[in-house]
């Protein structure tokens, strides 16, 4: 992946350095938190999976028991109950309610069954009034128990699927932070540091050069000033003595040697 050499395009200033550092800190903290979340979700996932496997097996048992009960009922009440039951369907008396539960930060659905008392139960009650009523009641009870197990299994299954997706998303985010965002920020920070160092070096170099110039300037000025001062003096002497400037100059130069013979 080209993620290794990438960096953000920013102006390499000190402010940006501070901003990038803050973002890196945020990314690191977010990465640790998301990893923890992913671990917690995986733990939940495994417990739910185990529960699903065991519930499915018990469901097999219960379904078998309920179909036995049904066969008994059919035997006792005659074959016609099928039609009677099919005719007597009106409004469902056994329904499910769905709620949301928050587990480890993920909203998981939960189903629970409940009996709606107002719905039409009367017609089905009359089934088997002629014969086989007990078997029919037993069959109904067995099926209601089966429905309970099935509802629980359904909510386990939906939580399972939702958790699966949540784990995938969280892992995707963790990987993105780890492999893309953080290296990019780190590269940007080292780039900014490098640029700042270079600017500093440039500044330093410029400073040194200017210092050199200034020194030379000052020396030159000193020289010029000295020369000017000498010429001025020579002029004064020449005016006093009425001699040319160059001989005055020579005079001064010679006089600077402190000749004892000359008494002024």
């Amino acid at each position: 992946m080209s993620g290794q050499g990438q960096r953000l395009n920013v102006v390499p200033t000190v402010t940006m350095l501070g901003v990038m550092k803050a973002r890196l800190v945020g990314a690191t903290r977010g990465h640790a938190l998301l990893k923890k979340k992913s671990d917690a979700l995986t733990v939940q996932f495994r417990t739910i999976l185990k529960k699903i496997v065991s519930t499915k097996e018990s469901m097999g048992e219960i379904m078998r028991a309920s179909s036995f009960a049904l066969t008994e009922a059919k035997y006792a009440a005659g074959e016609n109950i099928k039609h009677v039951v099919l005719e007597s369907v009106k409004s469902a008396s056994l329904r499910v309610r769905s709620r949301q539960e928050n587990i480890a930060g993920v909203k998981l659905p939960r189903f629970e069954h409940f009996t709606d008392p107002g719905a039409g139960d009367t017609k089905a009650d009359l089934t088997g009034l002629a014969r086989g009523g007990q078997q029919i009641q037993a069959c109904r009870a067995a099926h209601i128990k089966a429905i309970e197990v099935l509802v629980e299994l359904a909510s386990l299954q939906t939580s399972f699927l939702t958790l699966d997706e949540a784990i995938k998303t969280t892992n995707r985010r963790v990987n993105a932070l780890e492999n893309v965002v953080k290296p990019r920020l780190e590269n940007t920070i080292s780039y900014i540091r490098g640029e700042l160092d270079e600017l500093e070096r440039e500044d330093f170099f410029r400073l040194k050069k200017i210092q050199g110039y200034k020194k030379r300037e000052i020396e030159r000025q000193l020289q010029a000033a000295k020369q000017f001062a000498e010429e001025q003096f020579a002029e004064k002497v020449s005016l006093k003595k009425g001699i040319s400037i160059s001989s005055a100059h020579n005079l001064l130069v010679a006089g600077a040697e402190k000749d004892e013979d000359i008494i002024f």
């Binding site: 008396s93 056994l94 329904r95 659905p109 089905a124 099935l150 299954q157």
Partner: protein, 130 residues
């Protein structure tokens, strides 16, 4: 999180069934059967004469209806529309495969469990068998 399907909190939802006659009759006895005002039922009886297309249509109908929270489908029927069942990804309604009288439950064919078959080491099944 915004893009994910929201699971509605409903107060009363139905259980749909796609199974053979005996299973359906048994569950209708317990009271899950429902016929609404438009004579739409929440169960679909499959016998030897039902076409695969009819089963597919019933499945699609049940999964798109808003008042159905769980769809119970016999495993051998699910095998007939295995492709559709496997490509169904929404959490609601939940699709549950149930065994029928002649076809006992086979966990290797369950669409949900097959997705995590890699987690099915012999040890995890064996430990739950004890």
């Amino acid at each position: 999180m915004a893009g994910r399907a929201q699971i509605p909190t409903k107060n009363s939802a139905l259980i749909a069934m796609i199974a053979d006659e005996d299973t359906v009759v048994g569950f209708l006895l317990s009271g899950v059967g429902d016929v609404d005002l438009r004579r739409k039922r929440n169960y679909f009886i499959v016998d030897s004469k039902t076409t695969v297309k009819a089963i597919e249509d019933a499945f699609k109908d049940f999964t798109t209806r808003e008042d159905i929270a769980i769809v119970l489908i016999s495993q051998y029927i699910a095998n007939m529309i295995r492709f559709q069942v496997d490509s169904y990804n929404n959490p609601v309604p939940a699709i549950l495969e149930i065994p029928s009288k002649d076809h006992p439950y086979d966990p290797t064919q369950d669409s949900v469990l097959s997705r995590v078959r890699y987690l099915f080491s012999a040890e995890s099944i064996a430990s739950s068998r004890y």
